[in-house]
Amino acid sequence: MTGFAVPSDLLFASTHEWCDQQDDVVTVGITDYAQDQLSDVVFVELPEVGEDFETGQTMATVESVKAAADIYAPMAGRVTEVNGTLLDNPEEINSDPYGSWFLRLEVVPGTANPDLLDAAGYRNLTEG
């Protein structure tokens, strides 16, 4: 399959989360490819503000008509904000995956996850 949106200003986890890092705040959502694979999203479970996560830990869950999928922390950090509108309108993840952020993590300044992919790398992964 081709034709999925992969914004060039974001980083991507191989587990299909997108990350937008601005200094020590990382905004996380799921990619266009991920929402397409999931099919119609019907339910989202988000963590509490203040919860801490290590890289790779399950932070949230997204469920579609087909299956449930975990959302993993792309970096270690503390949740500072969650997108509550997704709880009532989970279908927005299908229509606007890059506008539908799940949560924001505060990370230790200077943190980076070297395993995250740039747009070209992620496109390679999903089209490969």
């Binding site: 119609d40 008509v65 087909k66 709880l87 279908e91």
Partner: protein, 361 residues
């Protein structure tokens, strides 16, 4: 992997194909399962159901044979009747559920794809020594389901018949492009609708004609995902979930599909015995009070006591709620609520009457 006669059409319609009971089938099209589901509730949807097992039965012994293998009696049935029935083992557990369609020259059995080989083996075994000829026509025919409140109008216009005069569970042969189309007023969505069986090579062409005629009014091609959520809202059983070799039909509220007046069917003694005893398990319908998606296999609790297992669950697009069915201790039918363990948490569910959805009269 088997392909239906509509495979190329599905690919052209941007279907997402998945493996299902040995067939490559469309799970959804471009519109997505929820949009497809709502199209069927509002106007109509077209389904390729050619994967369903189809067996032609002929011979002087067929009527007698069906009295033995089916739980419903076909003794007074005539050509043009379609009968929903079960096949049970002698212990009363369910081999399969099916629709038997009476034809001028015999009967057509339409059963589940997943059970095709098992059913065929069972039927042939039971037919030994009788004048019953059983032919598996699954791969020589196509089967389409045309479902939704607009179905009478669409089928009438495309097949050139007065489809509205065909009553529920009745069958008639229409002619399309000089080929016979066995048309029954049946379905698996809770809506009005028809199921059509025709030569395999004509299936794609008829589907395309129906779609072109219906599209301007909102008809959509629909995949297996929408088919599953539609049948769940209507509380129609799915083999392997609500009925199986481990569940008897009385537990699944299918006593109406068991005719004890038929003295000869296999499984009758066991089912009659079960019928006279208080039930130990029953199929319950529930909707989630706490937010969460119930799915098949999840555990059901009353306080700390495990009382059952979810057989099917999902989001109901029509009700905008999370719903499911569960096979539970019979006491559950009298409960107001129980809990479903969803991903490690026990969430509250209300026990509700079946079905979740029935079409407006």
């Amino acid at each position: 992997m088997l392909q239906t006669g509509l495979y190329d059409l599905h690919v052209a319609l941007q279907a997402r194909m998945v493996a299902f009971s040995g067939w490559s089938m469309p799970v959804q099209y471009a519109a997505g399962p929820i949009t497809e589901h709502m199209a069927v509730r509002r106007v109509g949807g077209l389904f390729d159901v050619s994967h369903m097992a189809r067996f032609e039965l002929r011979g002087s012994g067929v009527a007698d044979f069906l009295l033995r293998v089916l739980t419903r009696s076909v003794a007074r049935r005539k050509p043009g009747d379609a009968v929903y029935s079960l096949m049970t083992y002698s212990d009363g557990t369910v081999i399969d559920d099916l629709i038997a369609v009476g034809k001028e020259d015999g009967w057509l059995l339409v059963a589940n794809a997943v059970n095709r080989n098992k059913d065929l083996e069972w039927l042939r075994q039971q037919a030994t020594g009788q004048d019953v000829d059983i032919v598996d026509v699954t791969e020589q025919t196509s089967m389409l389901a045309i479902q939704g409140p607009d179905a009478v109008r669409l089928v009438s216009s495309v097949l050139g018949i007065d489809a509205g005069s065909l009553r529920r569970f009745k069958a008639r042969t229409a002619i399309w492009e000089s080929k016979p189309v066995l048309t029954t007023r049946t379905g698996y969505t809770g809506e009005d609708g028809f199921e059509l069986v025709l030569p395999r090579t004509e299936g794609g062409s008829l589907f395309q004609h129906l779609l072109e005629a219906g599209r301007p009014r909102g008809w959509l091609p629909c995949g297996l995902a929408a088919r599953d959520s539609l049948r769940l809202e209507a509380c129609l059983p799915l083999y392997g979930h609500e009925i199986s070799q481990n569940i008897n039909p009385l537990e699944a509220d299918l006593a109406w599909a068991v005719s004890f007046r038929n003295p000869r069917f296999i499984g009758r003694d066991a089912l009659l015995k079960a019928w006279l005893e208080p039930p130990t398990r029953r199929l319950c319908a529930f909707r989630m009070e706490d937010k969460g998606v119930p799915r098949a296999g999840y555990a059901v609790y009353d306080q700390d006591r495990r009382i059952g297992t979810v057989t099917s669950g999902n989001k109901s697009p029509t009700l905008d709620q999370f719903i499911g069915m569960a096979l539970c201790d019979a006491s559950a039918t009298e409960m107001e609520r129980f809990t479903v363990e969803i991903r490690g948490r026990r969430l509250s569910a209300l026990v509700v009457p079946k079905p979740f959805y029935s079409r407006p009269a």
